[in-house]
Amino acid sequence: MSAYVGNIVDSVTSIFDGMAVTFSHFFRRPYTVQYPDRMPVRVQDALPYRYRGFLEVDLEICTGCLACERACPIDCIAIDVLKNKETKQNLLVRFDIDLAKCMYCGLCSEPCPTGSIHHTREFEGADYSLESMVRRFVLDPVETYKPKKSGEDDPAIVPILERGMRYVNEFAVPEAPPKPPKKDAAPAVKPAVGAAAAEGQP
């Protein structure tokens, strides 16, 4: 008999508490991000720097070393490099990436010496056909980039290379860590973070 009553009491109290939990959600903010249109910022802009979205190639700084093509485990990068007989320059005649097949693993951008091939924070690429998902970066053959010993000075390329190197620097380097993580960097970007963390202590 006591088990009988106990069951009833248990049910009632536990359901009561569960209902209180769910009811409290009426007073909490929904967590939804209203994606396409009702957002304070574009999703792309809110994504972290390391986000592995669609691949992009800055042909200006691609050395044509094929490291990325070799690194890709599933061959979804196709690069054709021709040697220009006259100028002794390498010509990039084809740089295609199959975004439909790519697994966004980032293995290709890791060995890239200049950060030419890199993941963007772009992810919107739905389409009605697969063919349109091949990104063909080389429209007209371009010369490959040759790193200069003295450092880059072409003002058109400097910012691109800087971006590329910043990307490369994100990857962990075995011998010397790129830079010790700046503890104070976070509040600079997001002032809310530190304060909220302090507040968040129960």
Partner: protein, 382 residues
């Protein structure tokens, strides 16, 4: 198919006819593509035979084709719910064969990532458990918490699910600036959430009634069927690879290994399996706090040639994934490609016991049973 006994004179004795039901491969509660061929007498099952392989993606064979580095993203797909630990297992195996030592900071990064992944996975398991029992809200709440972890991991490695974070020799990216503060903030939020989940779901009488005493796995059966991880611990075996066969830097952390106690029924029932996971989330949070505190400085990855060619040898690696001891058997023959990779996963073992456990359960219990084992289809099929 009917089960009919016959009288001597050929007349048949009444028996309710047996119904053969197919649950899956497309079924809301089979957690991916599993199929159960249920022979049921009304609501009570005579047996539920599992038919797996609907997600057999030949990952083991691919390993022989893509090389040591290139296989890393595939390990993400072995157990996509907690890719970090599988990453880690592969990294450990390859490192062992190639004699690479991971820098301490790298190990810490791995632990942080892996424990976040473990919480992520257990959240899904607990939520899915609720959903299969019919409570959808805990599931969405769990998904919400997962999103927070996904955000963290995304910041760490750029992907939400298929992390490909670890590399042979360490990890690919150091912790981003301010990451530890964010993790702490998350933990401060998360630990009360687990308590809330208790109030919402675990202590609910209906929920307990649905799970307690259902599909009890005894200690001996669990071991004989090679159940691992939370499923094994729920049966009362205190065994956790992180503690008892330690790898990485786990010995430096202080944490407990929760086991099933049979609080509402017998040891090893569905409810125990559920609550063990909840407790493990708390322990993971504990490890995370310690790891963030003791995070050493230094590089996160060792120097490993791009053309990685470990010498011939074979290795058995055990890693505690959220679904338990994942046992890797890796054979190297001195080339750039692994010679053989075999993964015995937690879900695989759990899946094989279901047929035996299902006898005499009800159809609804089967759903609870699958959920309580936290079976992830590709882990079974690879």
């Amino acid at each position: 198919m009917s089960l009919e006994l016959e009288f001597d004179d050929g007349r048949e004795v009444f028996a309710t006819e047996e119904m053969t039901l197919n649950m899956g491969p497309q079924h809301p509660s089979t957690h991916g593509v599993l199929r159960f061929i249920i022979r049921a007498d009304g609501e009570v099952m005579r047996s539920a035979k599992a038919d797996v392989g609907y997600l057999h993606r030949s990952i083991e064979k691919i390993a022989e084709k893509v090389g040591w580095h290139g296989f890393m993203p595939y390990t993400d797909r072995v157990d996509y719910v907690a890719a970090m630990t599988t990453n880690q297992a592969w990294a450990i195996a390859a490192e062992a064969l190639g004699g690479v030592t991971v820098p301490r900071r790298g190990e810490y990064c791995r632990v942080i990532a892996a424990e976040l992944g473990r919480i992520c996975s257990h959240l899904l398991a607990a939520g899915a458990m609720g959903m299969d029992i019919g409570a959808i809200t805990p599931f969405t709440h769990a998904v919400r918490e997962r999103e927070l972890i996904n955000d963290l991991l995304e910041e760490l490695c750029g992907a939400r699910l298929t992390f490909n974070y670890m590399r042979i020799g360490g990890v690919a990216w150091d912790l981003p600036p301010g990451f530890d503060a964010k993790v702490l903030r998350f933990l401060n939020h998360f630990e009360p959430y687990v308590d809330e989940l208790d109030d919402l779901l675990s202590n609910n009488k209906i929920y307990i009634e649905r799970l307690a005493n259902v599909a009890v796995v005894s200690r001996e059966r669990a071991i004989a069927y090679c159940l691992v991880g939370p499923n094994l611990r729920a049966s009362g075996v205190r065994y956790d690879i992180r503690k008892h066969l330690p790898y990485s830097v786990y010995p430096e952390f202080d944490f407990e290994v929760p086991i099933g106690t049979g609080r509402h029924g017998s040891v090893g029932d569905c409810w125990d399996r559920y609550i063990v996971r909840l407790d493990e989330m708390r322990q993971s949070a504990r490890i995370l706090r310690q790891a963030l505190e003791g995070l050493p400085e230094g590089p996160v990855i060792a120097k490993v040639p791009r053309n990685y060619k470990p010498a011939a040898g074979e290795v058995h690696v055990h890693v505690e994934t959220p679904r338990g001891d994942q046992s890797w058997y890796v054979v190297a023959d001195g080339t750039e490609y692994p010679y053989r990779v075999h993964i015995r996963t937690g879900s695989f073992a759990a899946m094989s016991i279901i047929e035996e456990l299902s006898r005499g359960l009800m159809v609804a219990d089967l759903v609870a049973l699958i959920a309580s084992f936290d079976i992830v289809a590709p882990e079974v099929d690879r």
